[in-house]
Symmetry: C2
Subunit: 324 residues, 2 copies
């Protein structure tokens, strides 16, 4: 337990992940309400929407209107997702988007083709062009992320070295341009990770690139999400993508009926951190309220746990035996 | 990771936990079908039903009929739960119940009163009488379990020493009667445990009583269940109570709306073990089928994850990119 970080940062993906996976498009006001509620919890970065093909993801067709409608809270970053140059240009043209320079890579060719219409090697070429765009736009490059780092429904097992290679390539490519990448993300896009795989891959990545901070994008597809977070915390990982109420899932990850298997649940993992003495800067009670709002908006029970049970704060302060 | 056990045993609680928490009583045939499906998975011990007050738990009023209806599979133990002498006598009088001698204790007075109508100290006296009954009935004493070992909604924080003291008392009391207790269980009845608390309490218990095997009865009330299992595995714990599909919850645990927060999910945790190279003796695919049956019978989405996503076996053997 000695390598536990003192503080963990959660990057909230719920608004994009959650509404993108649902078959219907939710009213703009609902999505605004959730983003605004999340911004009141202490979370510092919220992925609001994606700038992707309205043909493939019609739920995100009005991302510009969504950003325009949000009442911004100072100190919070309102981010958007893009997977190609066109998407970045849309994000760039949208007032209210806090542009975060990132490059996305694939450890699986088959999923790259499915999600981006190109091979993993071609994706390297494409994101090289993104670096040009970021330089032109004066957008700092903050992280590289490699998808399907732990396994892929389309390709099967993924050798961990492939994920490391992509991130080493990203780090060196940025370095050659005078950019020191501060963060590297491993994404378990399809829920293949387990605690041993987390430890192995994080260890390999840190051996290869000791300087950047390491982050994880995890899905709780098969129930190992919280165990994977614990394994990562014990490796000193301090950056996690997560979704309020466990919202989300990728519509193209090939899970069939299970496409709704979302990210690790923000409030459950904030609770895990707090119980282990790790700071998050998040007000757990407010976050639980935001999760309950998400569930009301989506209109069916969501996978988060503590939102249903309540935190321990009330029971600690005033156990039921002493309640009037 | 060096202390990971080679093999883990799951004690299936779903049939009792699951049907006891539901407001309505399910047809006998449904409950029989689930028990029989579970017996085909490789699970060796199934808690079929409880012998408790039909007034307080009407769903378990027909436990005798349930045991009578089950087609038994050799090598599987079909168990019942009791919390007092009357319950044991009912179980004893019921053909088909595999009697397992156990004593149940409380680390919380307030919950003891709520669940058993006596203080924790009075519970010691009562279970001493159980030991007499077991001796008379020639039932071997297999374990002692302490409830609310990690915290209690009625009493608040529980000092870990209280749980250890109960089990030390149980071990010594059995020893004085010439019985060496082979197993000791810590129960996180209300979902207060976290990985550090698991490590601390398991460590304290093992220091106090190095001989018996240690088991955990965990609920996934606040989303830390899988992380708690990982922490326990790393402490060498090899015995877990769990529920298929994550069924269950205790109706008297004081969670209000969240009384459905069930045990850790058997098939998700079997998957965790298998992915980490730990044997369970369980056929994961069959267990997933049993979980899906449980969901169909209960008639609403249950909390288990892998039952919805499917295991990795199919994707490993035949990734989607190579499917016809």
């Amino acid at each position: 337990m000695s390598d536990l970080p003192k503080r963990v940062e959660f990057h909230e993906e719920g608004p994009r992940e959650g509404f993108q996976i649902e078959p219907r498009t939710y009213p703009l006001a609902d999505r605004v309400a959730l983003v605004e509620a999340l911004a009141e919890t202490g979370l510092k970065a919220i992925q609001v929407a994606s700038f992707v093909s309205p043909k493939h993801v019609p739920q995100m067709a009005d991302s510009e209107a969504l950003f325009a409608a949000i009442r911004r809270r100072p100190g919070v970053r309102y981010e958007g997702l893009w997977l190609n140059e066109q998407g970045f240009r849309r994000a760039q043209a949208t007032p209210g988007v806090d542009l975060v320079g990132k490059i996305a890579l694939y450890a699986s060719d088959a999923f790259a083709r499915r999600n981006n219409g190109c091979s993993a090697a071609e994706m390297r070429e494409r994101v090289t062009r993104w670096l040009d765009l970021y330089a032109e736009a004066d957008v700092a490059v903050e992280y590289a992320l490699v998808m399907t780092a732990f396994g892929c429904n389309y390709e099967g097992e993924i050798a961990p070295q492939r994920a490391v290679d992509e991130l080493v390539w990203a780090y060196r490519t940025c370095r050659e341009r005078g950019v020191v990448l501060p963060k590297l993300y491993l994404a378990d896009t399809m829920g293949w990770a387990n605690p041993q795989a987390i430890r192995r891959l994080v260890g390999m990545l840190r051996d290869a690139l000791p300087e950047p901070r390491i982050g994880l994008h995890l899905h709780d597809t098969r129930g190992l999400g919280p165990a994977n977070v614990l394994a990562a915390l014990e490796m000193g990982v301090e950056l996690f993508d997560s979704s309020v109420a466990g919202l989300g899932g990728c519509p193209f990850a090939g899970h069939g009926d299970a496409k709704g298997a979302g990210n690790i649940c923000t409030e459950d993992m904030v609770f895990l951190c707090h119980e282990m003495g790790i700071e998050t800067g998040v007000d757990l009670e407010r976050l639980i309220e935001a999760a309950r709002l998400a569930e009301r908006l989506i209109g069916r029970p969501l996978g988060g746990r503590i939102m249903h049970a309540g935190s321990l704060a009330g029971y600690r302060g005033r156990p039921l035996a002493h309640a009037v």
